[in-house]
Symmetry: C2
Subunit: 323 residues, 2 copies
Amino acid sequence: MAATIRDVAQASGVHVSTVSRTFSAPHLVNAETRTRVLAVAENLGYRPNRAARALTTGRTHNLGLIVADISNPFFPPLIKAAQAHARARDYHVFVADTDEDPQVEEELIQTLTKQVDGVLLCSPRLSNRAIERLRADVPFVVVNRRVKGMPTILMDVGQGARLAIEHLTRLGHRRIALLSGPGGSWTSGEMREAAAAMDGVDLVILGPNAPTEQGGLAVAAEVIASGATGVLAYNDLVAIGLIEGLYERGVRVPGDISVVGVDDIVSGRLNRPKLTTVAMPTAAAGRMAVDLLLQSVDDGATPTLITLETGLVVRESTGEARS
Amino acid sequence: MAATIRDVAQASGVHVSTVSRTFSAPHLVNAETRTRVLAVAENLGYRPNRAARALTTGRTHNLGLIVADISNPFFPPLIKAAQAHARARDYHVFVADTDEDPQVEEELIQTLTKQVDGVLLCSPRLSNRAIERLRADVPFVVVNRRVKGMPTILMDVGQGARLAIEHLTRLGHRRIALLSGPGGSWTSGEMREAAAAMDGVDLVILGPNAPTEQGGLAVAAEVIASGATGVLAYNDLVAIGLIEGLYERGVRVPGDISVVGVDDIVSGRLNRPKLTTVAMPTAAAGRMAVDLLLQSVDDGATPTLITLETGLVVRESTGEARS
DNA sequence: CTGAAAGCGCTAACAT
DNA sequence: ATGTTAGCGCTTTCAG
């Protein structure tokens, strides 16, 4: 059995509370005693039990981070940024994957509730109602979804969509296909709204599609049939899958059809053609989400709304429309 | 404040221990009482506090899963399989990313120690000595690294390397480059050993390389200079980066140089050319790792060694050597 | 079948 | 500066 605070106390001839203090409030204990206790602790391999500590302090110093699909390369930069940022604040981030399943998502939150001080919900598939209900149990920060009255980080994908479509129209494309994402996706809704509000484009909406390469691959035939020459895909994965699907059918990108993705994942830069895409500020979002969450853990939830700008990165998957 | 067991006890007019039993040993409590307690609990939104429960039972019902780099697509299938498998056994898996940093890895393990019942160490960068020291604190299962006396899951990448090189030689390649991985990588060592032991190949070892597309991109010039016509890359990411680097330099794959990767990640199938690769049984490894870990949590560590077969998937990135 | 009491490892007033 | 005491939320003997 691992050493407890009691073992250390006994072995160093002080009371447990003194040992406790040497770890949680070192300045309150005599330097001499402290060194001795520390030495004994080191010797016994003692480490404070965070779970037990949490029971009295009410602070676990853990955060939960829930994502819909860990294998989507969109998330890792966000996760890494959040973990690094949290670590610097002496917090630890636990990541969990919901497999795009709202039910699993809800169970996960329940499980996490008492083991973390707050949870980061990234692109949740859960209904707003469910989220609002759950918020009684644990502080939340929501990323990429609008839930009123809750601290939220949004990446302005609507603006990104406008940028992308303007880029496409400037290249002479008139008929543009929007490949929407999964039903519950806020991002997808934003894109659709932004696109629909634009003048001078002949918009065709295809989907919902799975937010994966498979999703893009599967919709390729439909895209061709639609007669669109410009495409804005739900994300880079879909864009890459689509390009592959088009390629297999002898349709060239950007020669025949121009494709724009969303996210700016690493492999988009290594795809051939290199992907034109709407860059999402994921790392920044991860950091700000942690800050916001920590803040609402300390001071109660302030329903702040932070909107992060997106930008268009033009690479090789878009070009002039054939005349 | 969320409802505690005491609130439920009070509101349903029974002792806390009865409430406790209702949740952890339902068969020991009168059906009638049980329904009443359950109703009250539901009503109050009561959920047992797992951390507190852990304090008395010594079981958190959590597992930790540590990976070197969550953005490497090799890991997600393993993570997902482990999470799903664990969930079915009423365990939850917390994932953490070490950023390929042994120091961070060690801290993470320390943090996790008391909050989980066991830790899955995937492709650790930590030294064997450090791992052996840490094992006193928490049960481990190690994946893709040989640590003597510890439960271990290995994917037989040595065999995979042999398969790949045989494939290459059969296609007429004589001079073959092995792109090794990061210094601390067990996998990389296995591949090198297997390759070195093969007759009739003129082996050149290039590296260490970062286990990423960047790593592959960066080594492209060296590969060309080496005069090798066949390449076995540390993993698919490196292979994809390499192909891109070669392409930029006007070298064709598989026309001029054949490339084999390792892992069989999804995007390898969508790359152009589709990647020939050594398929790693990651999902199976994730499931077995959970089983092994749970077993060693229950019965103490049995130093089992499980070796999983790998296989070669031939696609389009390999072809006949130019004569 | 249910209640009483002790205790898991730790912290937080309150004394001294 | 250190010791005392109580208690966080829960489980687990042990009685009854």
